[in-house]
Amino acid sequence: MSDAAIEILNVVKRYEGHVAVRDLSLRVPRGAVYGLLGPNGAGKTTTIRMIMNIIAPDAGEIRVLGVPSSDASITDRVGYLPEERGLYRKMRVRDVLIFLGRLKGVPRRELPARVDRWLERFQLRGHGADWGASRVDELSRGMQQKVQFIGALLHEPELVILDEPFSGLDPVNAQALKDTVAELRTQGRTVIFSTHVMENAERMCDAVCIISRGEKVLDGAVSDVRGAHANHTVALTFEATPPDAVLALLRDPSRIARPTLPSRQMELELHAQADAQRLLADLLSAGARLERFELVRPSLHRIFLEQVGASGVETGMSGHG
């Protein structure tokens, strides 16, 4: 048995008029939390749909948990939260979940207890209330998201795929989602999620893959990715808004590779020939009062911008993300 949860080899997917995914190869290790990052229209959703065998690749090979993704037996071992959320609006929540559980091969007699357990866990049941008996369209959006999330996890899959799981979540529910992902990882399950919010990816992922315009830009363990780009990034925190002389230094192209809007906290990329120690001395002599001056490994956000570039974001096509 392969130790990869997912292996994608030279996969291509074309749509009329454009190529959504071109020659993509990646490998997701078992037990990892894996981030699929990219701007809108980069091909994330298309890639995920191909992993889920909802659409077929035009070329290449995808293996999920060691078997080809087209193998029907694999679906019961995978949980999926699509980017486009939705449930049968007129159905009762409990019935929807039992339906989804049955589609994943959970025995009917086990389902009611299991559904109740999950509803309680997501505060949809208990303290005298039971949203399981309500119709889906009677629930708030946040609650519906939770129900959908339960639907993806109810059958306790080995592999969980979440497409943009944070979109539309309020901070409380977003935290609940992060906790659940952390718990899934301690249980040894593999979690893949796509996002364009780099902070989430950085905090949660063991490994990431950044794709843009259907192509892989980079991939690997988060620590490796950040280490490989840890050449010239400085994090600054000023005590107060810095004087103009300081700001002028921060705009000097011979020191700073990429100017950033001035603020109290900044993350700067130094010019390749610039020296961080020299910059610190110059800043202090220009009258800056610093709370922090740190040579850091760049955030995923910065790496993402560097690699994908603003143009990659702007020209990203909507639709088959």
Binding site: E16, R49, M52, I54, I55, A72, T75, D76, V78, Y80, P82, E84, R85, G86, L87, Y88, R89, K90, M91, D95, F99, L100, R102, L103, K104, G105, P107, R108, R109, Q148, G151
Partner: protein, 429 residues
């Protein structure tokens, strides 16, 4: 415990619909409608009879009192209801004119409903004049025409030397055609009833196929609009989802048909006592005996016809994203169905003609026309089999195409596919 994924989908589609209020309402209202249709003719006839109670004045300028004969006839005999008709003989033209003026006034006063002007030349030419408030009451007008014809004929026969009693009998002679349907299995029901029954079957099939077929479209559309399709598709192939939907909704229609059959059988059994209870006349109304083979063909026609149209409707559902688009895009499919129903008249008039034969073989109309013809007249077994086989093959073909459209279309949100795109989706393997 080995309920398959297909079974899970069929079960959901079936239970969610059968449990809904609308299923209950539709299933119960249809028989109410049926009862209404069964009782309506009887009720209408009785109402009509009651509404005839107006006086008709006959202004008679003939020399041989034809008007008196008409009046007697309208009264229903010599000892009949004198309020039904008045006879006003006039001797000359001026008397005739003043009598007409008086009659017009009487109509406006509502003391009579109308008046009839007769004179010898009018009878000879066969063109008489009636004026009144009830000229649209067809039954009354028919009765009046009959009475005039009989009266004129009686006088004519008398002039030819036939005795007055005899000429009255001759003029009143009438023929009534009793029709009876002969089948190879012997006599069964009256011709009129079997036509009614056949049309009832055709309309019921049309309605159920239409209703549940478009339910398939709405189901596909709902899954697209709510985006729930993608969740389901991560667990089952699109074919399974489509077939499960079609089978589940088909089972709903089947259930409805069976409930209706049971209900109408029960209703037919209690119809006579019920009518009698309300003091209504009961005419003999025997259902043509429905053979097992006919019942089987009716159910099979529903199943295959539903399958055929459900596939077409599902294809439409896969192409569109909004209810409005769906209304437009379903037109060709709806037209096929409506056209088939429109042909029913032609088939009833001539169940063995070439139109009937063609309609029996075309898959778009055969699920409606085949049971219709079978309940009207014998259909060659070879033709029945050919019809069912063609329908089955077309259903399978339609389902194959629909599942291809569905596979691509179900994940296309927000825009309506063009015909060219649809064609490309169908070719994609």
């Amino acid at each position: 415990m080995a309920e398959s994924k297909l079974g899970t989908i069929v079960r959901r589609e079936y239970l969610e619909r059968v449990r809904s209020k609308w299923f209950l309402i539709a299933t119960l209202l249809a028989p109410v409608f049926l009862v209404f249709m069964l009782f309506l003719p009887t009720i209408m006839e009785q109402r009509e009879r009651r509404s005839e109670s107006g006086t008709i004045r006959i202004v008679d300028a003939t020399s041989d009192s034809v008007g008196a004969l008409i009046a007697t006839s309208l009264r229903g005999g010599v000892a009949g209801d004198t309020a039904r008709a008045q006879w006003v003989p006039v001797a000359n033209d001026s008397a005739r004119q003043s009598a007409e003026r008086a009659a017009i006034q009487a109509v406006l006063d509502a003391s009579i409903v109308g008046y009839l002007m007769i004179d010898a030349s009018a009878i000879a030419s066969g063109r008489l004049r009636y004026a009144g408030r009830n000229t649209t009451a067809l039954l009354t007008m028919q009765q009046l025409e009959g009475a005039i014809t009989r009266a004129a004929l009686t006088r004519e026969l008398e002039r030819e030397g036939i005795g007055s009693g005899r000429s009255g009998t001759l003029a009143a002679m009438r023929v009534r055609l009793e029709t009876e349907r002969l089948t190879t299995r012997g006599r069964g029901g009256s011709g009129r009833v079997s036509v009614l029954f056949a049309i009832g079957v055709a309309v019921t099939l049309y309605l159920t196929i239409f209703m549940h077929g478009s339910n398939v479209m709405r189901g596909v559309l709902e899954e697209k609009q709510t985006r729930v399709a993608e969740v389901v598709l991560s667990s089952v192939p699109s074919d399974t989802l489509l077939f499960g939907k079609v089978l589940g909704i088909g089972a709903v229609g089947f259930t409805q048909l069976i409930i209706w059959t049971v209900m109408s059988t029960a209703l037919m059994a209690i119809r006579a006592p019920l009518l009698a209870r309300f003091g209504m006349q009961v005419d003999a109304f025997a259902l043509p005996d429905v053979t097992f083979a006919l019942a089987a063909v009716i159910l099979l026609s529903f199943l295959l016809g539903f399958l055929f149209y459900a596939a077409l409707f599902a294809g439409v559902g896969a192409l569109v994203s909004t209810e409005q688009d769906a209304q437009q895009a379903q037109m060709p499919v709806v037209l096929l169905l409506v056209l088939s129903l429109a042909m029913v008249q032609g088939v009833v008039t001539n169940p063995e003609g070439s139109l009937a034969t063609i309609m029996t073989l075309l898959p778009m109309s055969s699920p409606i026309v085949l049971p219709l013809r079978l309940s009207l007249a014998p259909v060659p077994t070879s033709e029945t089999i050919a019809s069912l086989v063609i329908l089955l093959a077309s259903s399978i073909l339609a389902t194959l195409f629909a599942s291809r459209l569905y596979r691509t279309g179900v994940l296309m949100y927000g825009k309506r596919a063009t015909l060219r795109e649809a064609w490309r989706w169908m070719q994609r393997r």
